[in-house]
Amino acid sequence: MKLDFLPKKYKLGLESLDVSYLYEIRMRTSYPVLIRYKNEQLYLSNSGATILKCNAIICKKSDIDEIIALVTKSSLYAYNDRIKEGYLTTDEGVRIGLAGECVCANGNIHTIKNFTSLNIRVPHEIFGAANDIFCFVYNKKIKNTLIISPPARGKTTILKDLARKIDDLNIGSIMVIDERAEFQIVKGANIDTIMYSDKLYAFEYGLRSLSPNIVITDELSSEDDWICAERAVISGVKLIASCHGASIDDIRAKEYFQNIFDVYVVLDDDGVPGRIKGVYNREFISI
């Protein structure tokens, strides 16, 4: 099971739930455990999901420590590069966001200690998640595509499905830049995955050594990410990426925005994750 690292009482509470509708577990020390289940924010109790705060499981500091110890296999040093970036990823691709005390040295974050909150993002393998947008991404050839949505709206799930679909087409080599090990279960004859690397390194090293035809990457955020994306597109590689935002205007207003994509897919910020709100062409006209 994907959530084997959870303490026993949490697993008991989840037993009566359909995990395929569970998107997020939020744990904050001394507060009730929250879950996002079937698009609703509920509390986790010993017997499942509840709207009653009084029945909720209260997160203890020891619960958080237990999870950290299990996920890091009691070897924090081996995971510190990820911890200082604020996350951990389990072997099964579950991403855990971390909050705690940042330890700084020479102006840089050295590590995070005394963890107080966890945000467990439960990934879903939805075969067909990209069905609705695939006709925009591929029409005799792959188009540079940017998927836009607020956090936890299904961008990564769609990108994973797109990777599988393009792999099935057998039209070229696909390089997946997987900074946070969320694509580790996506494999294929045409797929090369670079894990735990920042985009700057992955683009430079990957483009030179792996010669991909298509690059798939999650979450363009910093200036460097956008510069790398632009370079890749200029060099003739097809790029499929995602980015945080609620509308096409949000993206155009971004400081580092480059109009390098042929298609912009905006996902709905409400309701079922992965639902399309709008698709736009290079001129930002709805198509």
Binding site: T72, S74, S75, Y77, K84, V103, T111, K113
Partner: protein
């Protein structure tokens, strides 16, 4: 009958001597294993960043140190039944098990290097103690047994 009891006493005393001496043999092995693991852990953290579970499985050596470490990693319970370690040594061992794996690379290496220096010292002391007391206890046991045999005869 007297000869039989005398020989029995000789054997018994020699065995007791061996038993007494084994404490020093075990201590020497324990601290050598401890130092070996500590050195290996420093190397692994510095370069490959192997996890503790992988490292203990990879080393998989017999001995009380590795046994107690494996139990601790799996259960997070400190458990050491043998009596050849002193109370403060047990406390230090418990502290070591708690600290390894609980911090980032730099702080772990700093701590492990400090332990390494202490362990080198400890290994030398254990080696000297083993050399000194092992033959002493065996000889003493044999001698007492021999005296018992002579008295009985």
């Amino acid at each position: 009958m007297r000869i039989f009891i005398g020989v029995l006493a000789l054997l018994l005393c020699t065995i007791i001597g061996y038993k007494k001496a084994s404490k020093y043999v075990n201590r020497k092995k324990f601290y050598n294993d401890f130092a070996e693991f500590n050195t290996k852990l420093i190397q692994e953290i510095s370069f490959l960043q192997t996890t503790l579970i992988e490292l203990t499985e990879e080393m998989d050596l017999p001995g009380d140190f590795f046994e107690s470490l494996s139990i601790y990693i799996k259960t997070k319970n400190f458990h050491f039944e043998k009596t050849y370690l002193r109370r403060e040594e047990l406390n230090d061992l418990n502290k070591y098990f708690k600290i390894i794996g609980s911090g980032d690379k730099d702080t772990q290496i700093e701590y492990l290097n400090a332990v390494s220096a202490q362990l080198s010292n400890k290994c030398v002391i254990c080696e000297e103690e083993e050399k000194k007391y092992r033959s002493l206890y065996v000889k003493l046991g044999f001698l007492i047994g021999l005296i018992a045999l002579i008295i009985l005869l």
